[in-house]
Symmetry: C2
Subunit: 169 residues, 2 copies
């Protein structure tokens, strides 16, 4: 798939077919996520791959906007282990870029995905920390629900010339 | 270009040919950036496109790691106008995803780019605010330097199985 087709047709997909996502595809998505840029090349990310139905259902029940996790074949939680010697204060940006790479790679494999926010909502991060047994020094940024789509992807357009400024504001 | 080629060969590129980047390419990059996901679809991003040599040189001189901006054809500063009614606390994540889309679109046009961090370093954000005349309510997340590459792109591999956890941590 062309990079621009992936960029222009990646949408938030919340309904999935009852079809598993292969180990090979999950590894490819994680490989792409780990190729995001990071401050000082710190690569602070970690990933928790959740296929277990009980764990998915617990996440779906306790995150206010992740109901779709209950019926999806797989959920990937993007976490971070910030390193104070390697641009720790940029961990949110690093892991956001990794999340976006992961979602574009999903699009490249015709998988739908949706980004459910965790940090900086302490309640949501706390719920995920408890369910996934995250150590205290590990942060949880995003919960990405992934599955095969029910419907074909369509192109989006959110271009707004008013958001562009030239030379200075 | 295939989405996976773009994902796997996007590297930080800091040296550029003395060749301009077309208006058409810049618009395409911004269109891709604006298609990033955002909390509550808030789309908090703004972009300052800087071609003016004096402005680029000022940015290069005053950001500790953006020297390459002086010799690049274009710099795009990704800003935000967080909206408290639309997931304002997620603006860093939204604008990081937009920055990553922008860089992948650059790769798709065979343009090299590098992400220079601003927020949360107050000194860097302040310098950019002053040079670009950003209003007080506007945040500056990243400064992306863009240009045609001197060298061919090569594939990266940062895959680390130790970063992957299954079902729980």
């Amino acid at each position: 798939m062309d990079i621009f087709e992936a960029l222009f047709t990646r949408r938030s997909i919340r309904k999935y077919l009852p079809k598993p996502v292969s180990d090979e595809d999950i590894t490819l998505l994680l490989k792409a996520a780990m190729l995001a840029p990071s401050a000082n090349n710190g690569q602070p990310w970690h990933f928790v791959v959740v296929r277990d139905e009980a764990v998915r259902k617990a996440l779906a029940e306790r995150h206010p906007y992740a109901k779709m996790a209950a019926g999806a074949p797989v959920v990937i939680v993007v976490c971070a282990e910030p390193d104070e010697h390697k641009g720790a204060e940029f961990w949110v940006q690093d892991c956001s870029a990794a999340t976006q790479n992961l979602m574009l790679a999903a699009r490249g494999k015709n998988l739908g995905s949706v980004w459910c926010g965790l940090y900086p909502r302490e309640d949501r991060e706390g719920v995920v920390r408890e369910i996934l047994n995250l150590p205290p020094h590990i942060r949880a940024l995003s919960l990405v629900v992934i599955g095969h789509c029910e419907q074909p992807f369509s192109e989006a357009n959110r271009f707004s010339a008013e958001k562009i400024h030239y030379e200075r504001w």
